[in-house]
């Protein structure tokens, strides 16, 4: 979003319509904000009424410029609406904005019945409902809704998103579901159509997500050749996007997608020069060395992995530092150094416990305590805490 979408010059006309607040959820100074407005998925976008301090509209995930225009318009409408609105979409949006996903499912279903399928708000409501169903682990309903929605959305950006949601949900259907295979096949066809549509102009990371889902589908089918074919296409698509990147920011933004694609294609070593370039272009960013550590770990080059992890550890901040700790533990375990792995896990627990409210995760702390307590030869509970 920050490299490709918010840089679009057509958005400047919106500058005076809102006060624009960017929140890096990893920074400790933003912990009071994330405590008040918990984040379930990244990126998340909100419109907040400053008087009531309530979220009046929430959008989860990336968006194109055209989708942002709808979000801005709906957000302005929502912020000027009486709080006790009887509008069914407003009710659903209010529940969704409060994070009441289970309750917003029937509300969005009701709202969709009142909205014409050509309404700008229809696609936004549908995507919010699909997020609800995915978050609430309802793959049957998610796949079914995606399937029934596809005909009216073909050839649109929303249709691309629905096709991918449908495929991801279909892959989560129980193995014994009678229509599982036919659902997956139908959504794979939809995703293929999206990728082949020259009029859609999807951002590279959205296309990458579509390839990732196609790859998962071929793996799910135990189709090794098919998965390899998808992986090769995925790499080629992203390499073309990288060649067309206009700024170092745009190029680096593709790193996580390219890393996933290279791994799928069995070409993980290709990620090394890519990440070394990003590290050079953005020396303060912990992501390139953290990703390099991951690549070296997977390649079992443990000494290189540890060096990269040292560099990442010196730059990383916020809850994500726990991911770097996690990688580091795996590196030590790969080296056969259980003592260092145990010490790193203790350090991770101490760090997790010291995070402020809004960043502190009780489930992460419990998981770490459990791992420390269940290690062979260790006393129950973490040592030194």
């Amino acid at each position: 979003m920050r490299a490709y979408v918010f840089t679009d010059p057509t958005l400047t006309k919106r500058a005076g319509q809102f006060v624009w607040l960017s929140i890096d959820t990893e920074k400790a100074r933003n912990a009071p904000f994330t405590k008040k407005y918990p984040i379930r998925a990244w990126p998340s976008m909100y419109v907040i009424d400053p008087e009531s301090e309530k979220i009046v509209l929430r959008w989860v995930g990336g968006a194109t410029v055209a989708e942002l225009d709808k979000i801005f318009d709906d957000g302005r409408r929502a912020s000027s609406r009486p709080t006790a609105s009887t509008d069914s979409l407003a009710k659903a949006d209010a529940l969704f904005s409060e994070g009441k996903y289970e309750e917003s499912i029937p509300a969005y279903r009701a709202a969709l019945k009142t909205l014409p399928k050509t309404s700008p708000s229809y696609a936004r409501a549908l995507e919010s409902l699909l997020f609800d169903l995915s978050t609430e682990r309802q793959p049957v309903e998610c796949a079914s809704l995606s399937r029934s929605s596809m005909p009216s959305l073909r050839g649109t950006v929303a249709g691309a998103s629905v096709a991918q949601s449908g495929l991801d949900c279909a892959l989560k259907l129980p193995a014994e579901a009678p229509d599982r295979a036919s659902m997956i096949a139908a959504f794979e066809k939809d995703v293929r159509e999206v990728l082949a549509d020259p009029k859609l102009h999807l951002p590279a990371d959205d296309r990458s997500g579509l390839y990732g889902s196609l790859f998962d589908a071929r793996e799910d089918a135990h189709d090794k050749e098919g998965a390899e074919r998808v992986a090769r296409e995925w790499v080629a698509d992203l390499d073309a996007a990288a060649a067309a990147a206009k700024t170092p920011e745009q190029l680096t933004a593709l790193d996580p997608n390219r890393l996933n694609a290279y791994e799928a294609a069995g070409e993980l070593d290709k990620a090394i020069p890519m990440l070394e370039k990003s590290e050079k272009d953005f020396p303060d960013d912990y992501n390139p060395p953290a990703r390099l550590a991951l690549v070296y770990l997977k390649l079992k080059r443990y000494d290189d992995a540890l060096t990269a992890s040292d560099q990442a550890m010196a730059k990383v901040y916020g809850p994500r530092k726990l991911r770097v700790y996690s990688q580091r533990i795996a590196i030590y375990q790969g080296m056969g150094d259980e003592t260092a792995a145990h010490k790193t896990m203790q350090d991770a627990l101490a760090y997790a416990e010291a995070l402020p409210p809004g960043q502190r995760s009780e489930s992460t702390i419990a998981s770490l305590r459990n791992q420390l307590g269940s290690e062979p030869g260790s006393a129950a509970g973490p040592c030194g805490h």
Binding site: Y46, T135, S161, S326
Partner: protein, 58 residues
């Protein structure tokens, strides 16, 4: 899907990085960076809603 869900960080050790956000770049919009109190004060005085992008550098 175009989002990354919150998952406990130690569930899958050394899992692949999620689809993520790049470093800050040249935006077309006048963002207030990491200062919610200032944004709320400005929004109240200008009587404008606040648009928030919550992101993470990973």
């Amino acid at each position: 899907m175009r989002w990354t869900l919150l998952v406990p960080l130690f569930v899958a050790a050394a899992a692949a990085p999620a689809i993520t956000t790049p470093p800050a770049s040249r935006s077309s919009l006048p963002w207030i960076e990491d200062d919610a109190p200032r944004a709320f004060a400005e929004a109240k005085s200008k009587k404008l809603p606040i648009f928030v992008e919550a992101w993470a550098p990973w």
